[in-house]
Amino acid sequence: MDNQADVLIKELQQGSEKAFGLLYDQYSSSLYGLILKIVADDGLAQDLLQECFITVWKKASLYDPSKGSFFTWMLNICRNRSIDELRKVNRQRTHLDQIVATNEISPLGDATNVDAIGLNDIIDKLPKEQQVIIDYLYFRGYTQKETSEELNIPLGTVKTRARYALNELKNVFVIIVLIWILKNT
């Protein structure tokens, strides 16, 4: 289905700056949204976005299609880098004072996101306990075990809630895509 995307990736791997520019146009705002969500700092997020795109440029040949799409690969680069940075910042903060924000679960989606298909923050539609799990696992980079300890719930529950949350997301997206198709035809 993504023949054009495949060609673009191949060109990038062969050192095409033009392909790099096109991929930037296509994915930068999504990746920026992700980084911003994790580090919650505009300046830092912009630095990280640049850093991650340079990683994408340098390591394009290492992309392995058998493990997922190119977009997922870029998401992982951005997420891992951002969480590393978040931990660094949190360590410094912990060092400076005892006020640690991690106990207080901030509602997700407080960034001013403008969603391409007209919805502000889909994750709001999920039950609260599932939102929390996604927050800890995906945006804070906790392991299941750490999440289970942090929230004081069994490990199995973390796994089930993660599963329900993603299933819910799937359903929501099906509806969103249907609405989007209806709007655009």
Binding site: G15, E17, F20, G21, Y24, D25, S28, S29, S30, Y32, G33, L34, Q46, L49, Q50, E51, I54, T55, W57, K58, K59, S61, L62, D64, S66, K67, G68, S69, F71, T72, L75, N76, I77, R79, R81, A111, T112, V114, D115, A116, I117, I122, I123, I134, L137, Y138, G141, Y142, T143, Q144, V158, K159, A162, R163, A165, L166, L169, K170, F173, I176
Partner: protein
């Protein structure tokens, strides 16, 4: 392995949320390669995350793209050769020193392989040379062994002959006869040791001239007026083996020069030595 149970365990969701240990990550990647159902579930979940991230996108301030496009002009792309197995490491570890290290390790490995290969080839070649030499020596030593063995056999036989000859010569029954040259061959000499009771003799032909090409001396006994063939003389030997002589009315011994292989009757023209017994 119950695939349904595996899917329902929530591990795939945890995987796409990046909340699994390295071991679990490898497990999911491995399982998805084996079971198409697991791969499908994985792709679906990845797509969900992708869609979700798309939904929280934020416009990037202008200018960042230009900066990036400018930067990459001077940044070379890593070649495929530097692939590090652990993808997590390559994603998380942006510090290129590990890549440099891996390159050095790879270069060292290549050099090691080349050097080892060279040494092995040299060793193989010298091994082959040694094998060839050994085979040659073995052949030589075998033929030398055979030669020595033949020589030894010959010497043993000679010794036996000498003992026998000595027995014949020193026997009381043996008489020694000097064979003198005939008028045609006045310088020719030979000696016969004749043991009449044992009926055998020995011949020393040292005093005979070397025979012409294609000719050979032949020994005769004259008995009852008839020449009896006692065989041709070995060209190389001056001392014959013991010769058995089973005749009655022995009168004389004679040596003639005959054609190679000897004749049925003696050629009296070429009579060299003769002795009456």
């Amino acid at each position: 392995m119950d695939i349904k149970e595996y899917i329902e365990s929530g591990i795939i969701e945890s995987y796409v949320l990046g909340a699994v240990s390295d071991q679990e990550r490898r497990e999911v990647e491995c399982m998805s390669k084996i079971y198409p159902e697991i791969e499908a579930e994985l792709r679906l979940n990845q797509a969900s995350i992708e869609s979700y991230v798309k939904s929280i996108q934020v416009d990037v301030p202008t200018g960042i793209k230009d900066q990036l496009m400018d930067q990459i002009k001077s940044i070379p792309q890593d070649s495929k050769l530097t692939i590090v197995k652990n993808e997590n490491a390559e994603v998380k570890d942006d510090n290129s020193s590990s890549i440099v290290f891996m390159r050095r390790v790879a270069a060292a490995a290549v050099i090691l392989v080349l050097v080892t290969g060279g040494v092995l080839i040299t060793q193989y070649n010298s091994n082959q040379n040694l094998k060839a030499k050994y085979a040659e020596l073995e052949i030589n030593s075998n033929s030398q062994k055979a030669e020595l063995s033949d020589e030894l056999k010959g010497l043993t036989a000679s010794l036996d002959e000498m003992v026998l000859r000595e027995q014949i010569i020193s026997s009381k029954q043996t008489k020694e006869y000097q064979m003198d040259g005939t008028a045609n061959q006045p310088d020719a000499r030979a000696k016969v040791y004749w043991n009449a009771s044992e009926k055998n003799l020995l011949l020393s032909s040292m005093g005979l001239p070397a025979p012409e090409e294609g000719k050979q001396y032949q020994l005769w006994a004259i008995a009852g007026g008839v020449p009896v063939d006692l065989g041709v003389l070995d060209k190389k030997r001056v001392f014959s083996k013991p010769i058995s002589v089973d005749v009655n009315n022995l009168q004389a011994f004679a040596i003639t020069l005959e054609k190679d292989g000897g004749s049925e009757t003696p050629n009296l023209e070429e009579l060299y030595v003769i002795v009456n017994v």
